[in-house]
Symmetry: C2
Subunit: 505 residues, 2 copies
């Protein structure tokens, strides 16, 4: 590397590190708001989040950043960098191009508003008061529409949002993939509906002590390899994973007294996200490459650990005894087979995060269609409860009795995360496709699970996916790992086979 | 106000609000490091704290700040402001003058080092490994010495540090006040040593369940008026109060299984700090006036609630029944009189935070003398354990068996807080002097305590002290409230009278 390049590169990395420090502070403030920050401090806190997010934004769009990029992003200079360096320049350039189009005052308003709305959402969800929440959501949508204009709409306005979470994903592609998936899953759902022997699991809904739920949750997280010296587990309304820095990858969970599986699977789910983040190569620390590559690939990992590992028969052959020890009264007369069938029963339900592996995708398709309506057809926010309830009736045959169990159930929109929901279904499809390759390359896969030996699985995923962070694009990951593009058939195959076994179809 | 002044004033307040947002973020990161942040993230976190503290520091010393101050701090312009406005300009000018002398790179090193050292201190305290901690402490002392040079030494080098925590306090004055206090207290300590009937309280050191300790702690905090919607209580090695913003004033406590009084009195102590911060006038929010005026006055409030309220006979006449209900087994045969005498027994001990009201001041004098030796006589850090142990032998007749129970016991030095310790003794003296006035003006004081009716007491303190925040200097507060300067006789009178009663002297 020439001396001039070496100096620019060092200063460029320092600037990125400074930006990362704002993100760490803002992430901690968000985490804190959701894990017990006092109510009366929330308004000033929102303002503080807005101010510091704006500072980070100013650095990302600063003249200094522009100058670094215009120096570094030249063929001859890129040739002096290694592959990771080139990826970093490319990614920062993309973010710069995107950010520089948003006026800082707009960005600050957006940051303050979404921080505030996320806090308010907890109350409005609790009371089911959509009308109270509507003005905030209306303003968030309006600002997002303005952002789309600043960025320039793609094929459709909503494509612009999709691309933020899953680079290069389009409405056209998603309509096709979701269509194919739906066509293959509907017959399975129908067959289950008319199956003669449906698993029943009233034992899952007895009273399960919260402290015992905590204990088994921590135990299972330790088992799959979540590093508690580089993370912690707290309780929130809506579980999430948040990375403060490479040695501080936190997750949260939600304890439901009469549903023991809720916290177990949310721990395995968020734990899957965390395994990804905890195992990104340390060399990428302090740069934007140091995180999962896309929301879809991220979700593939949470789903992999939650469903492909955590809802498998082998997993419970190994751990059901431990669970029984934590809840001897509740589970003494329940066999592992009954338990396995119980946690995999299919039921149309109102709440996305409680849905089974099969119907979950319908919850996503509903949100995807509503988001398309908002951004491509101008559906007003005031209409959301009505449209939401109609779609739940049409797709799942259910009508939410109130907005707490309907349109207010998810935190995403209050944080401005439009275009995020499809990642969940992508995650399912990626997970199945990756699991297929994993089983071919590690034929002992099921045996490892049955032994509680997750290290080889975690290592394989680290080598193939985790360590790269954002230095490979999602499409590259999928192609490198599985040898083909995203293919929804793997998920359909997996679900067909699994539910044939459980429902004796 | 002229239009030009009005515009400058608005921008000046916005700049102060931005600086406050950095302080809120940094405070939250400190709080988080001590309340369970994962170990592996601590190094990156320290760097982040350093980076953001440096940004705040740059704003405080920025050209923009210099220009605001040179405009506002003119006789004619000050005349356009109200009294609070003038105080704000004065305070910001003082902080500017102090900060502008420190090179930003030095400040950043100091911020990163102290953040890192505070985390390390927990480990070194645990293991008693002073040699391991020594290099960090040596560097902190060296940087502090450099800062003294930048600021310019006062009468002595240590005076410069004292002034930071208690404006206008000097070694000369403190030597006098501490001398007088010691002369009056030593005879009381001697009389107690030879008293025929000493209270015994083995019942305090049974096993007290932590969850029950938490419950009674929260109950008592609610009773004295700590607002849980504007704060929260967590567990740390060393209890503290920290203000994130006016609606977010947090405290921490430490539960000792075989000493029930430890968490109770640390809650009342930190709760006293918090009552001060929670009741500063809302009009001062977002400015540096929005906090307690000095460490000494702050400590007077923690001591007032801990000792003058919490260790009084009246308080336990009211609350002993509640305590017994939380610990029926442990306290069933203990009378309120035995309990009251038990919590007020005097014993020479090794640990400052566990010391009784009487000998506590000796712990402070030891630290005061050592800090003077470090900064005025160049005592090397490597000598600290030896000097510490010698002084404990001389003043309290005890030799720490290890450095965990000796020189490593307090967090202050690892955070660079040299000159802070004297505030604790000042707090005791201020508290006694203020309590004397309070009893004259609210003759029902003791009755209010016996009824558990703390609102009139909190209101009196709010009106006289809390609401002003930093808009009055400590000497003004004491003069306004009590009509005279700091006078150690009030503390001596109070302690004499109290211990004569308890020990039948």
């Amino acid at each position: 590397m020439k001396q001039e390049t070496a100096e620019k590169w060092k200063s460029f990395l320092e600037l990125l590190r400074k930006i990362a420090s704002y993100h760490e502070a803002v992430s901690l403030m968000h985490w804190d708001l959701r894990t017990g920050a006092p109510r009366k401090g929330a308004e000033a806190r929102s303002e503080t989040i807005g101010l510091l997010s704006t500072e980070a934004f100013k650095l990302q769009t600063s003249t200094a950043m522009g100058e670094f990029l215009s120096y570094l992003n030249h063929q001859t200079v890129l040739g002096e960098l290694d592959e990771t360096g080139r990826r970093l320049v490319q990614l920062v350039q993309e973010e710069y191009d995107r950010s520089v189009k948003i006026p800082p005052a707009k960005f600050q308003e957006y940051a303050e508003l979404t921080a505030h709305a996320e806090t308010l959402w907890e109350d409005y969800k609790e009371s089911g008061d959509f009308a109270g929440f509507e003005p905030y959501l209306t303003r968030i949508v309006a600002l997002t529409q303005e952002f789309i204009d600043y960025w320039g709409p793609k094929e459709t306005r909503y494509d612009t949002l999709l691309d933020m979470y899953e680079p290069d994903l389009t409405v056209e592609k998603l309509d096709q993939v979701f269509g194919k998936l739906r066509d293959r899953l509907v017959p399975v759902v129908d067959a289950i509906t008319s199956a003669p022997h449906k698993p029943q699991a009233p034992f899952l809904n007895q009273l399960y002590d919260k402290e015992q739920q905590k204990k088994i949750g921590i135990f299972l997280l330790e088992q799959i390899g979540y590093d508690f010296e580089a993370g912690r587990v707290d309780e929130t309304v809506h579980p999430f994973e948040i990375t403060l820095n490479q040695g501080d990858v936190r997750i949260t969970t939600h304890y439901v007294q009469d549903d023991v599986t809720n916290s177990i699977f949310s721990n395995l789910h968020e734990g899957g996200h965390a395994l990804y983040e905890q195992n990104v190569s340390k060399e990428l620390a302090g740069t934007p490459l140091s995180q999962g590559t896309s929301m879809g690939i991220h979700e593939s990992q949470s789903r992999f650990w939650e469903n492909f590992v955590g809802r498998s028969r082998d997993f419970w052959e190994r751990y059901y005894g431990d669970l029984q020890q934590h809840f001897p009264e509740q589970l003494k007369d329940v066999t592992v087979d009954e338990f396995y069938r119980g946690i995999n029963r299919v039921e149309n339900s109102l709440i996305r995060i409680d849905a089974d592996e099969l119907t979950y995708n319908l919850h996503i398709i509903i949100r995807y269609e509503i988001e398309k309506m908002i951004f491509n057809e101008g559906l007003p926010v005031s209409e959301l409860p009505k449209v939401w309830n109609e779609k739940y009736k049409a797709y799942l045959g259910l009508t939410p009795p109130n907005d707490s169990l309907g349109v207010l159930q998810d935190v995403h929109w209050s944080g401005g995360s439009f275009g995020y929901f499809p990642s969940y279904a992508l995650g399912n499809m990626y997970a199945a496709q990756i699991a297929n390759t994993l089983k071919n390359e590690l034929p002992q896969f099921e045996g490892f699970i049955a032994e509680g030996n997750f290290a080889p699985i975690k290592e394989w995923l680290t080598e193939k996916i985790y360590k790269y962070g954002k230095s490979l694009k999602p499409a590259e990951i999928i192609m490198n790992v599985t040898g083909e593009e995203l293919n929804p058939d793997y998920l359909a195959d997996y679900l067909e086979q699994k539910y044939k076994g459980i429902y004796g179809l």
